[in-house]
Amino acid sequence: MTAMIGFAKVFWLEIVSLVRSKTLAMLAVASVAWMFAAPFIAKGDGTADGAREMFVRYSLGGAFAILLVSLLAAATGSLARERAAKRLQLTMVRPVNHMLVALAKTAALTLSGAAVLALCCLLMPFAPGVGDGVLGRQCSHVLKPRLPSAREEARDMYDAYMADPETPAAVKKAKKSVVLRLLENRAIDHYQTIATNDTVTWHFASAETAAEAEGLAVRIRFTNQFDVRQDVRGELRIGPLSGAVSNITQAVVTVPLSRRAAEADVAGAADGLSFSNMGSSSLMLRPRKDIDLLVPADSFAWNLARAYLEMVSILAIAVAFGVFLGASLGRPVALFVAIVTLVVGEISPSVIEQYPDELETSVADRIGLVLTRFAAEVTRPVAALQPLGRLASDECVEPRETARVVLMDFVAVPLALALLAGLVLPRKQDGL
């Protein structure tokens, strides 16, 4: 009980400081102002769908970025500045657990960010070009073809690849883990060729249930040139549903599937999606990347709520990290480390994608790649979360994934970081 009163007091103090220093008000004004200004800078394709997508990606995304960076900066100063001003020692000599001090500050900053983010989400229907009809839009679960994982495929390919006389000598000399990573990247981009008049079938988890759903659709990505894909013709079938593919003008097409009672005798397999190539040329698709089965889910409003929870979880983990850095380091160093970590976390996945292996690079590049890969792995819980991307594409932010993110990033990791901060705090006070 005493501990809870102490926690509540530190929490309250942090909120009062944010409110009375006008930090929270400035944060809210900056986020909302950006949200409403961004549509005038980043314009969509003129359609309502385009406006909504641009709004989610750039307006809401920009407001979230403002919040993330500001709260991270505030979090690094939360303990560090109090220590520098010697106010912290007055808290440290009281009978309050140091971990709870760090946790209360994390909770207060996260709640402040969550409040501003909630305001941004609530104002979304009033944004230019979006409209209040957006909340009723339907989003879809995205099912991927059921295939062995890219890692499993890489393991299966390894022996044959290393025995192949055409495999470069440099690869044969490389460590197994490096070659496996190389093969894994290949497996992800593995193309499947569908010859003219040929039919392929991809199996999906819970496809039979999905086939009964109204509003089922298939999304196909074409990486080939426009003049090639213009000639694509074919038919998609799953159970009693089918859809025609023709006149492809965009790189990504969504084909709605509908019931064809008259052709029930030629219905597709109930557990798989088949595609028959009726065009004049072969077609190449990457099943892991290019084929999605879209199963109707709930409304945009619910999707926004789940995306909101994931974004708040990202804020929580960033704030907890900032508070931990502030407990361990002086404010300027903590802020520098926090910003560098954020930037590295953001760019490392694209660096790894562009330079996937270290076979033909210099020693310096190899060291850089190892460090980048490490940074990507460490920051994956934050960097890998893309709720806004899914929200913008009308893809369902899956409840199970949201629950996992909330449990890990909102609860477990901030608790662990607060515990560490509580351990470090008295030692840092000691001048170490």
């Binding site: 309250w12 103090l13 007055l90 000599v93 009281r94 657990n97 006070q429 000691d430 001048g431």
Partner: protein, 254 residues
């Protein structure tokens, strides 16, 4: 001496500060042993840089000793049970500028685990006691140094501590406030509270302390009861640590 009555006990305590590379830079406290008994007012005196504040911080658990043992109520100073019985007035008033005087006291009352009703009552009593009841709703960021000092003193007393640690308690106070603080400390001691104080002002220490220890270069150079010194505390102090021998005035005086 009965050990069980020692509220604070230091045994052969050393504190060496180190730089980033862990190389020793200064030995602030060197083999210090002392004990503060229940109900007494103990003064830790010494010139600047003698190790008083470092000793106080080790007693408070804000610093850990490099060697030796520090006990507060028979416990390590960082133990929550020990901190529950502690009140601390730092040398300067490190207050949260956005909080009012009342909120400041309610905040520290919460940290001490006082429930809402008790915290409210105690806050009103202490604000009345330090003469700030009329300005209880004003942010402390706008307070004068003396007013801020009074808020800090009230904060130190909010949790009904058994040990009150005062670091230069009369620093920055006018003569009237200084007298009030001294009267308050005497009254608290008369009610059984143990007080550990540091001071540069020997007259103040002489007025309020039962026992003093004089530190110089991190070591104890004298310890005893004020009533048994046989001379003024100032003369005793100067005899132990020298009289401004570091100042070389002759060249400036021609």
């Amino acid at each position: 001496m009965n050990d069980s009555e020692d509220i604070v006990r230091l045994e052969s305590v050393e504190k060496t500060f180190r730089d980033f590379w862990l190389r020793p830079t200064v030995k602030a406290v060197d083999g210090l042993s002392l004990s503060v008994r229940k109900g007494e007012v103990f003064g830790l005196l010494g010139p600047n840089g003698s190790g008083k504040s470092t000793t106080i911080k080790m007693i408070l658990g804000l610093l850990s000793p490099s060697a030796g043992d520090v006990r507060l109520f028979g416990l390590p100073p960082r133990a929550i049970e020990a901190r529950r019985k502690l009140g601390y007035l730092p040398e300067l008033s490190y207050l949260h500028p956005f909080l009012t005087a009342k909120e400041t006291l309610r905040y520290y009352a919460g940290l001490c685990g006082l429930k809402s009703g008790e915290a409210k009552e105690r806050t009103a009593q202490l604000l009345e006691m330090v003469g700030l009841a009329d300005v209880a709703g004003r942010p402390v960021g706008g307070f004068s140094k003396g007013m801020a000092r009074r808020v800090s003193l009230a904060s130190a007393l909010i949790g009904r501590p058994e040990l009150l640690v005062l670091d230069e308690p009369t620093s920055g106070l006018d003569p009237v406030s200084t007298k009030e603080v001294k009267t308050l400390v005497k009254a608290l001691a008369a009610n059984g509270m143990t007080v550990l104080t540091t001071s540069h002002l020997l007259a103040d220490a002489e007025d309020i302390c039962d026992r003093v220890m004089i530190l110089d270069h991190g070591k104890s150079v004298a310890e005893g009861r004020v009533s048994e010194l046989g001379t003024s505390l100032e003369d005793f102090f100067l005899a132990k640590v020298g009289d401004a021998s570091e100042f070389r005035l002759a060249p400036f005086l021609g």
